[in-house]
């Protein structure tokens, strides 16, 4: 069979399944992510959201199914590979190494070095400085490129992780519950960073338990339930209240109703 034509989409998953030792975590997932589209991925614990994300980042390989990225059929067999493709993940609170300085985190795994592997520290610091002041808009004098990450607030950490992904030209940013355990004002900061992804013409998959966090920033909702996609809604076609009602229906009756 000839490959599917997916040239107008950034990422297309076709019939992706994944099982772990006979237990299926994902069953026949079909998902499309457009260029410059923010997709909200919702679903209860155990719905398969994390497994899906791990397949896209190359942590797991799918048992069956095809992945198309920018129109090309690809296999993602490692995290390194997904990053080369321009797919980047921002994980809850684990995105950054807490005890390391901002400049070390910014270039983690992508160090600027000479050909002997020695770091161009000055250049890395200057770039980080630029990113902090212009990109993220840090004005606080207390935070410098030499500051340890743990001196930042939760929202600022997520901001750094998102800015880092954008700086390295990620086309698809996977946000795995970035607002979990954050205060209201910190959550707002993260949501602003998500809007930034949209403004810069990039795409994202935003996983969250909170419809209230997702609704203002996403273009489309994908609802997962027990390893399947239970429904998809464009934001224009559904109000926040209707969406929440559907989620409740899903929990109560197993259908969106």
């Amino acid at each position: 069979m000839a490959g599917k034509d997916c040239s107008d989409k950034l990422l297309v998953l076709v019939n992706i399944s994944k099982s772990f030792g006979g237990v299926s975590a994902l069953r026949g997932i079909n998902l499309e992510i457009g260029y410059n589209e923010i997709v909200g991925l919702v679903g209860d614990n155990g719905a398969g959201k994390s497994t899906l994300i791990k397949i896209i980042t190359g942590v797991h390989t799918p048992t069956t199914g095809e992945i198309y990225y920018k129109g090309q059929r690809i296999t993602i067999h490692s995290v390194r590979r997904s990053r080369e493709l321009g797919i980047e993940t921002v994980y809850q609170e684990r995105a950054l190494a807490d005890q390391q300085s901002l400049w070390r985190n910014m270039f983690a795994g992508r160090e600027e070095t000479n050909r002997f592997g020695f770091l161009r520290v000055r250049r890395e610091k200057e770039e980080t400085e630029r990113l902090l002041r212009q990109y993220i808009g840090f004005t606080s004098k207390a935070i410098t490129v030499d500051s340890e990450v743990k001196s930042l607030s939760g929202g600022e950490k997520q901001g750094i992780a998102i800015a880092r992904a954008l700086y390295f030209n990620a086309d698809l940013i996977l946000l795995d519950e970035p607002t979990v355990a954050l205060s209201l004002s910190e959550t707002q900061k993260v949501l602003d960073f998500v809007l930034d992804i949209k403004k810069r013409g990039k795409s994202a998959i935003f996983i969250s338990h909170s419809i209230y966090h997702l609704y203002p920033v996403v273009d489309r909702f994908v609802i997962m339930d027990r390893g399947r996609i239970a429904g998809e809604f464009k934001k224009e076609s559904i109000t926040q209240e209707e969406l929440i009602e559907k989620m409740f229906n899903l929990v109560r009756t197993g259908t969106l109703g």
Binding site: T57, S78, V79, R80, R83, T89, Y91, R94, A95, L96, A97, D98, Q99, Q100, S101, R104, F107, A108, G109, R110, E111, T113, G117, F118, L119, V121, K125, E126, E129, K141, T144, V145, D146, S147, E148, K150, S151
Partner: protein, 319 residues
Amino acid sequence: MLKTVTRETKIEISIVIVFFLIYLLFLLGSPDVFTRFDIYYSFMSTIPFIGILALAMTFVVILGEMDLSFPSVLAFSAWVFGKVLELAGNVWLAAFASLATGVLAGLLNSLLIVKVRIPSLVATIGTQFFFRGLVNVCAEGKGISLVAAKDSLFYQICVGRLAGMIPAQAIWMFGLAVWFWFLLNRHRFGAHVLLVGDNKDSALMMGIEIDRVKTLVFTQMGFFAAFAGILSTLEVTYFWPSQGQGYLLTTLAAVFIGGTSVFGGKGTILGTFIGSLIIGSLEAGIIAIGLTGFWIQLIHGLIIMISVSIYSVILRKST
């Protein structure tokens, strides 16, 4: 660009102050001994063995791991050195075989830790006994004389005396300290060791090959254990089967006095260097200021408790 005084800097300043206080105490307590060159000559010939081990160990600790096997690896590599020299008569070949043994021992540790997934503390308890046992079986309790090596260039490079005054091993320790400093603070390898030691999940998501980093760190530990073994056997031109015993806790103490965190993700090469100097000179210093040998361990303990307490306070304050 704004500057931040990092915790490493604070810790390094503290250890330097502790170092000067201890030497001030030595100088006041025994000016005759500590104003003459002899004692420093003696230190320069003895300290580098644990110094080099402690420098290599710093990477293991920063990674959040532990290696208890290096004294035994040192002994077995030293035995290989002595035996090959005895049989083949070529000191370069002996050195190559010995260093290769150290590398293989490090790879064995890596295999157990990375592939079999045994925690390093447990895995290296096993290899610690294994290599010590191997020395016992191979050497059968007998030493090996290395007098034959004494006229070689290799001997001069390792433990010769520069201008009759500076032991070569001291130059090795200093040179390696500089090398390790650059490796940790200015090289991609050091950056990856810090990231993996700090946050494995983050390192993984940033595409760092954690298993490879771990393997390299344990392998270099084996290599430098063998190197320290060669140096210490050559210094006395004699291999003895209990070699390396007593190095374990002193080496770890040097790393921790130096301010490297047992939790991983942070460490200082300057700290380890100074820590080695402190640990290596305490014994002679204590005797020189007129205390009996019974005091040695007590003062060791005090120094460790005080320095580690200072770091703990520094770490808590600057969060």
